[in-house]
């Protein structure tokens, strides 16, 4: 890789990359809004924008289906990418991804428990929790899984990569088994809910679901954007981060909370979508280095664009049928994961 010996020591013009990513998000959004099975194309939308208006049918397609689906793709993509970046900074290793290290499974268990056991809540409480119950439970499950994983895999500020991945497997298996128990307990209506939820798709987007997940994603993004300097310092080890003036415990708490909130929100509204959290930060680090202050906002942008494009692929390749979006992201992401693993071979501690 060629390196420009500038004073900042970085490959040039980070601002233009951010600008490019904003452009990519806009382009992906327009493309997503103007394609679909209903035959509402870019020409119709351009006409509508010029003031001719949409037919009532097209209005339903646009405001009831395409716009919420786009919003959900943007939110989930940004959340997954930011969750991955936070976890990788926390564990000081580029292999940490909510799907791979069992945090997605923990969040999934929380969501399933909310769907199955939520019916047993007193009606007053259930009404009060409403649509927020599933995202909050998914967040709680993800948070518990992250805390457990951090305790197991990290000692004295050092993460053992093998321990992290193995503990992730154990966590995913445990959460999977408990999810199985929940499914076994579920009645017919809950089973239907579970099936829809677990397909891991953006197809079920509704404004109510989005509104329930938005606060969690907002909190996660806020924490992520503030954690940049702390995560940079953490790359030198906990003791050095402390000597660099960083409140280490606070940074760690924020990263764990943010990753769990983002994963929980994404899993609650879209099921499990893997590999976004590993591919996006990796590409950005290759492009311009690991500075988390730039990485966080750019990961959110690239994750949003990538997921919208993956969703576009998922619903157009075999239209009018749909491929699960998780298939698309896994096809793109799993090879990247293997590639990072190969490059890390021989590196004992990330």
């Amino acid at each position: 890789m060629s390196v420009t010996p500038t004073l900042t020591g970085r490959r040039p013009a980070p601002l233009s990359l951010t600008t490019g990513l904003v452009g990519l998000v806009l382009a992906a959004s327009l493309l997503s809004l103007s394609s679909g099975a209903a035959g509402l194309g870019p020409v119709d939308l351009a006409r509508a924008a010029l003031g001719e208006g949409l037919s009532p049918r097209d209005q339903v397609v646009f405001y009831g289906i395409r716009l919420p689906r786009l919003a959900m793709g943007l939110m989930v993509g940004a959340a997954l990418a930011v969750a991955g970046t936070l976890l990788q900074g926390l564990f000081r290793n580029p292999l940490a991804d909510p799907g791979i290290v069992g945090i997605g499974a923990g969040a999934g268990l929380g969501a399933v428990m909310a769907i199955v056991l939520g019916g047993a809540l007193p009606p007053v409480l259930a009404a009060w929790a409403g649509a927020g119950l599933v995202p909050v439970a998914a967040f709680a499950g993800g948070w518990g899984a992250t805390m457990l994983l951090y305790r197991v895999a990290t000692a004295g500020g050092r993460t053992d990569v093998a321990m992290m991945l193995l503990a992730g497997i154990a966590l995913a298996a445990l959460a999977g088994a408990m999810t199985g128990v929940m499914v076994y307990m579920a009645d017919d209506r809950q089973l239907r809910d579970l099936t829809f939820w677990s397909m891991g798709s953006l197809a079920g987007a509704t404004w109510a679901k989005l509104a329930a997940a938005l606060p969690l994603i907002g909190v996660a993004l806020g924490l992520a954007l503030r954690s940049g300097r702390g995560l940079n310092a953490l790359a030198l080890g906990e003791a050095q981060a402390h000597h660099l003036g960083v409140d280490v415990q606070r940074v760690k708490r924020g990263a764990i909370f943010g990753a769990a909130a983002a994963t929980g929100a994404a899993v609650a509204i879209s099921g499990g979508i893997g590999f976004v959290g590993i591919v996006v930060p990796h590409l950005l680090r290759l492009a311009q280095g690991p500075d988390h202050r730039r990485l966080m906002p750019q990961a959110a942008l690239l994750g949003a664009a990538l997921l919208v494009l993956a969703d576009l692929m998922a619903r157009t390749v075999v239209a009018p049928a749909e491929v699960p979006i998780g298939l698309v992201t896994a096809l793109l992401g799993a090879p990247v994961f293997l590639w990072i693993l190969l490059r890390q071979r021989g590196v004992v501690r990330g």
Binding site: T4, P5, L7, R10, G237, A239, H243, G245, P290, R349
Partner: protein, 260 residues
């Protein structure tokens, strides 16, 4: 002033540090010496507050370090670690900039370049840290520490450099470069505390040498007072002959050493 009062520390219930009392004044270089496993690094870590002390207290410029916020502490002192690993492919300049941002000199635009030039890495700013050799990594971290406390004297008094074996993986020329930097920092009014293995280099550059043996402070004074054969024989468990060149401090010839 760095004041270490009756400091004791344990690791897994084994007492590693026993009742150490030590004072370092601004303008001084103190070398902490002693055999392997004597507790030198533990003394440094306990003095930095990196590990909890079982008793005793440490204050820096009159402020108890136990209650100080990390951000405030970072403007007063910088630490060169023994372990120089860094996760992710940060560039050399980015790592030095982390030190600069932690100190009082964040607005100084050319500081990263000057700190790197001071340690002889001026041409390495854009290199990825993980591609450097061991010695270059150590000097990068030294440049980071220097950029953090660039001015040896600040509004809250002297600034401090804590160095854990700063010349351990360096060749002779760079050993001298690094210790001259430390000496210069102290001569300009700052304070330096360094854990050192090399007695000759310590005697050359330090104002005082403190010998730690089995967790206790056994000697503390100017090199010509503490570099005594009887003391070193007890500390290191081997026969030594301390020699002297005309008009210089004491020195030690490893060739003249052998079993007791």
């Amino acid at each position: 002033m760095l004041e270490i009062c009756n400091l004791s520390a344990r690791i897994d219930r084994h007492p590693i540090l026993r009742d150490v009392t030590l004072t370092v004044r601004p303008g001084e270089v103190l070398a902490i010496c002693g055999p392997n496993g004597a507790g030198k690094s533990t003394l440094l870590r306990a003095a930095l507050g990196e590990m909890p002390a079982t008793s005793g207290r440490v204050s820096l410029n009159g402020l108890d370090i136990a209650g100080m916020a990390p951000a405030r502490m970072a403007r007063l002192r910088a630490v060169l670690p023994q372990d120089t690993q860094v996760a992710f492919a940060f560039s050399v300049a980015e790592i030095v900039a982390m030190g600069q941002e932690a100190g009082d000199f964040a607005a100084d635009a050319g500081l990263v370049a000057r700190a790197l030039a001071a340690v002889g890495l001026g041409a390495h700013a854009g290199r990825a840290f993980h591609t450097l050799s061991g010695g270059e990594r150590q000097r990068t971290h030294l440049a980071r520490a220097l950029a953090q406390v660039w001015g040896p004297v600040g509004p809250d008094g002297a600034r401090w450099l804590f160095l854990d074996e700063p010349v351990a993986s360096l060749d002779l020329g760079h050993q001298l470069t690094v210790l001259r930097l430390a000496r210069g920092f102290a001569d300009a009014g700052g304070g330096v505390v360094a854990v050192m293995h090399d007695l000759n280099l310590s005697a050359m550059f330090a104002d005082r040498m403190a010998f730690v043996v089995e967790g206790a402070l056994v000697a503390d004074g100017p090199p010509h007072e503490v570099m005594r054969a009887d003391l070193l024989e007890r500390a290191y468990g081997c026969r030594v002959a301390v020699n002297r060149l005309p008009a210089t401090g004491p020195w030690l010839l490893p060739q003249a050493c052998g079993p007791v």
